[in-house]
Each structure stands twice: as C-alpha cells, then as structure tokens.
Amino acid sequence: MYRYILKRLLMLIPVLLGVAFLIFAIMDVAAGDPVYSVAGADATPEQIEVLREKMGLNGSLIERYIRYIGNLLRGDLGTSYISKLDVMKVYLQRLPNTLKLATLTMIVAVGMAIPLGITAAVHQNSIRDTTSMVLALIGLSMPNFWLGLLLILFFSLRLGWFPTGGSEGFRSIVLPAITVGTSLAALLTRTTRSSMLDVLRQDYLRTARAKGVSERNVIQKHALRNALIPIITIFGVQFSNVLGGSVLAETVFAWPGVGRLVVDAIDQRDIPTVTGALVMTTMLVTIVNLLVDLVYAFVDPRIKAQYTK
C-alpha cells in the first residue's frame, strides 16, 4: 500500500511539470512581451534589457521554464507584475476562502444528491424517482451563475436573509455554497441513482434480506457501500474542480477566492500570478485524485488487493 502511494506521488511529478509547461507556453503566446508594458513607452533599450533580466524574462522559453521550476522547488512562484506582491503569499491568502467554499459546496452537493439518488433508485419509476430525475435534469441544464443571480434576487434582495456578496461571516458563504452545490448535486444524484440501480439487482442483497437484515440496512449498509465507487469518482472530479475556484460563483457573489484571482490576473496579463495559481491548483487537484484512489481501497477490498499487488 505504501509502495503504491509512493509510486503515485512519483507519478505526480511529470504531470505537474507538464501542466507547468503547458501554462507557461500558453501564457508566453498570450502575453506578448510584458517588459514593454511594465517599462513604459519612453524606456531606452538598455533600461528594457536590465528590466528583462530583473523580471527573469531573458533567455528562451525552455531556459525560463527550467528556471521557473527551480524556483518553484524552493516555494517561490515569482512576483506579480501588477501588485509587485509575492505570488505564493497572495495565493495562500486566497486559498482558505476557496477551501471553505469548496468544502461547504461539497457538503451541500452530497447532502442533496445521496438521499435523492438513493430514494430515486429504491423507488424506481415512482413519482419520487421522476421528481428527483426532473430536478437533476433541470439542475444539470441551469447555468450556475444564473442560479446564483436568482438566489440573490430572492433571498438577498427580496427576503434580506443573506448578503448579496462579500466574505463577511457565515451568512455570506451560504448562497455561494448552495449555488455551486446545487449544480454539482445534479450530476451526483444521477450517478448515485444509476449506481444504486446496478447494485440493487445484485444477488448479495437477496442474501442479506434472507438473513433477516432490515430493508433500511440492506440499502444503507449493504447496497450503498457497493454503489460508492462511481459516486466517489464523480465527487473527486467535482471537488478538484471547485478547488480550482468556482470562478462564476466567486464573480457573482464577490467571493475573494482563487478563481477570481486567476481571472483577474488573466485580464491584467499578470503572468506570474496566473502561472503560479494554476500550478498550485493542479498540485491540489492531483493530490485530491490520489486521495480519491486511496478512498477506493478503503471502500472496496478488491481494489485494495490490486494496489498491494
């Protein structure tokens, strides 16, 4: 098991290097030459060369990339062109907000999806099933920033229960979490239902019933555990996506998270910030993916057996 984890951690390295390079290359194409915009129009060629060296922009793409990776290993993501602040510092400032929102979002999503999905599967083709599936379909088809606007309209402006935006106190996180959580719940509900339907037809549930296990435990203990793998997969993908920042919800609710940081930086051509934030996000995402794979092993002994092999 430990060997498996070690192997997976080692495999992270090329992926991270690849992501860093990809972002590096895209930003290189995108940015044109940032030196001129920083130096100003009336800078002499000498001044520009000095500045270029200072900004670490001398040399070929590959040379700069290697230098960047070297700095990255020391925890240095460079300095923002715009704010002149340390990118790592800025990122770590935003990260807690994103983590808070991501966690609450997933709690909302799972809290809605698992009960709905199970009910739909257990009472297949009933009115409850149809209702859950129609709700999930609508959730899947609704752009979440629009849902956010509707929630603001109703709960903030009409009822005044929650602030329209910002990050002051618990109340301000409720609407963004519901907004993102609801749209994630749609896919998660569908996954739960279809996975449960698969499991509900399995013979071992009949064995459990024949033992005298109550229907409640047949579903919650015997069936759900077996249905979890696809649910965890989708959960992992969604969780890593919200770790990258729910850009739209952050925009709608003026939530100062990582997503907004990246979008603003892209807007301002602030390459170090974009690259740094995306590289850090990718690192988080790959770690979450690894955790998801480890959770698989806890849920299903057959997968664990594969890992230890």
Partner: protein, 300 residues
C-alpha cells in the same frame, strides 16, 4: 389451440430477430421516450428560431439599435420581455442570441470531436509511446478545471467569437479522446479488423471504415450532451466578459449586463437565463433519450 400458440411465438420470434437498420431501431426506441421527444421538438423549435431570426428581425435596428427613451422598460405588450439599459428589446435579443449560443455550442463540439477523435483513435490504434503521451496530455488537460482552461485559451488568443468556440472546444476535448480510444481498444482486436489488416488495408482506412462507425453511437451521445455543456461554458465566459464581444446579443453577456441592474430591473436577468436553461435542457433530454435508445440495458 396448440397451432395458434406456436404461430404466435413464431410471430414473436420473427418480430424480435427481423433485421432492422440501427437508425430505424434507435428512432423506434426514441419515439417511445416522452422526454426525448419533448427535447427533440424543443430543440427543433429553437434551431428554427435561430435560423429564421434574420428574417423576423432587423439586426441593426431591433437587436443592437439603441433607444435611450425606451430604456429599462419592464415587460409590456410592446416589449414582452422588457427593454435593457440601452433601450433594446430583450425578446429580440434573446431570439437573436440563439444563433450565437447554438453556433458556439455546435462548433465547439465539432472542434472537440475533430481533435478528440483523431487523437483518441490514433492513440488507441497505434498504442505504445504515442498512446502514453496522448493520454498523459489528456490527464494534464483534465487536471485543470475546464472553465479556467477555456479562460486561459481565450486570453491567449484574444477575445472573439471564433476564439471562444476554439477555447470551449479545446477545453472539452479530453472526454472525446477517452471515448474514442476506449472504443478503438475494444474493436481493435475484433476479427473483421484483423481480416482488413490481413488484406492490406491501410491503417487510416481501417480506422475510418471499420472502427469509427462502430463507436459512432457513443460519440453521438457524448456530442449531444456536450453541446449543452459547451453552451453553458460559452455563456460563462461571456458572463465574465471573455466571450462574444458587445454589442452582440449573447445570452451570457446579457446576463452580465442584467446583473448590474438586478436590484431594480430583475427581469433583465430572468429571460436570457431561461433561454440558456431551456436550450440546454432540451439538448440534455434528447441526449439522455438517444443514450437510452442506443443502449436499452441502461434504460432502467
């Protein structure tokens, strides 16, 4: 009595085993699915509206023509959906906006299809190092959230409708690579493919003639469902100001404008959002229906 019964079971058997073309078969399955039919009708109506809108509306006058005297009028008999901050009729803009959203959705999916199928099929067929590299790139792409990916591409290429299509397309390529590769891997070792190889058919022709038609069904399903998510992705980018440039009536950018006036003129945020939802909903209903029709085992 006895003969009667044998007759019936014979009829049943012929009914079951009669050869039917797959398309006809899919249509028969689809027709029985109420949701899919509703989705199909809705999407046909939306496509017709998009196609016919230039005949109904004068783009310069009705869609982007400003009329400050008429600004921010709530829904009325003259302006069913009200007017926006520049006095433009929101209904006209929503109708015309269908052109943008559908075009972006469809073109983006075609971009994703073209990249995805070529790379995926080649990866599955060629295998080895090439497959490894493609799949790792696929991993890299999937580990960046797709909205951020699209934002990065748009900002690299510059804001324009075409770049928006390209960005959304590139950001949704990875799933198609996976589907195409998986399908090719399954079919790769079938005997008829080996037979084709044995008679010296070139590789590209084997992929085109024998392999792709066999994974077409999965690709159609993916594509239908992806058009919906591409429309949402495009609206998201436009909402962030990275999509179709003003003054074009893109639903996402209309929502972005409406957001400024949400406190007092909430109807501005209502209708473009409804339009997005209705379009994506009908695509999803149709896509789900096609999926169930293609694989009746999944329809439970």
């Amino acid at each position: 009595m006895e003969t009667n019964q044998t007759n019936r079971s014979q009829q049943r058997a012929t009914k079951l085993y009669k050869k039917r073309s797959t398309l006809e078969d899919i249509w028969r399955q689809l027709r029985r699915n109420k949701g899919a039919i509703i989705g199909l009708i809705l999407i046909i109506v939306i496509i017709l509206v998009a196609l016919l809108s230039p005949l109904l509306l004068d783009y310069d006058k009705d869609v982007i023509g400003q009329n400050i005297k008429q600004r921010l009028k709530p829904p009325s008999s003259a302006h069913w959906f009200g007017t926006d901050e520049l006095g433009r009729d929101i209904l006209s803009r929503v109708i015309y906006g269908a052109r943008y959203s559908l075009a972006v959705g469809v073109v983006a999916v075609f971009v994703a299809l073209a990249f995805g199928i070529t790379l995926g099929a080649a990866a599955g067929y060629i295998g080895g190092k090439f497959e490894n590299v493609v799949m790792r790139i696929c991993d890299i792409f999937s580990s960046i959230p797709s909205v951020l990916m699209a934002i990065a591409v748009v900002s690299a290429l510059g804001k324009s409708t075409f770049n928006l299509m390209l960005a959304v397309g590139i950001a949704s390529t990875a799933p198609f690579i996976r589907v195409a590769r998986a399908a090719v891997l399954v079919i790769h070792d079938e005997e008829y493919v080996e037979a084709a190889r044995a008679i010296g058919m070139p590789d590209w022709k084997i992929i085109w003639v024998h392999i792709l038609p066999n994974c077409l069904s999965q690709i159609i399903v993916q594509a239908t469902l992806r058009v919906g998510s591409a429309i949402i992705a495009a609206a998201q980018l436009s909402f962030l100001g990275l999509g179709v440039p003003a003054p074009a009536p893109e639903w996402g950018s209309m929502l972005s404008a409406g957001r400024q006036y949400i406190r007092d003129y909430s109807y501005m945020t209502l209708f473009p959002g409804l339009a997005i939802m209705l379009t994506v909903l009908s695509l999803n209903m149709l896509g789900d229906g096609i999926r169930d029709a293609l694989d009746p085992k999944l329809k439970r």
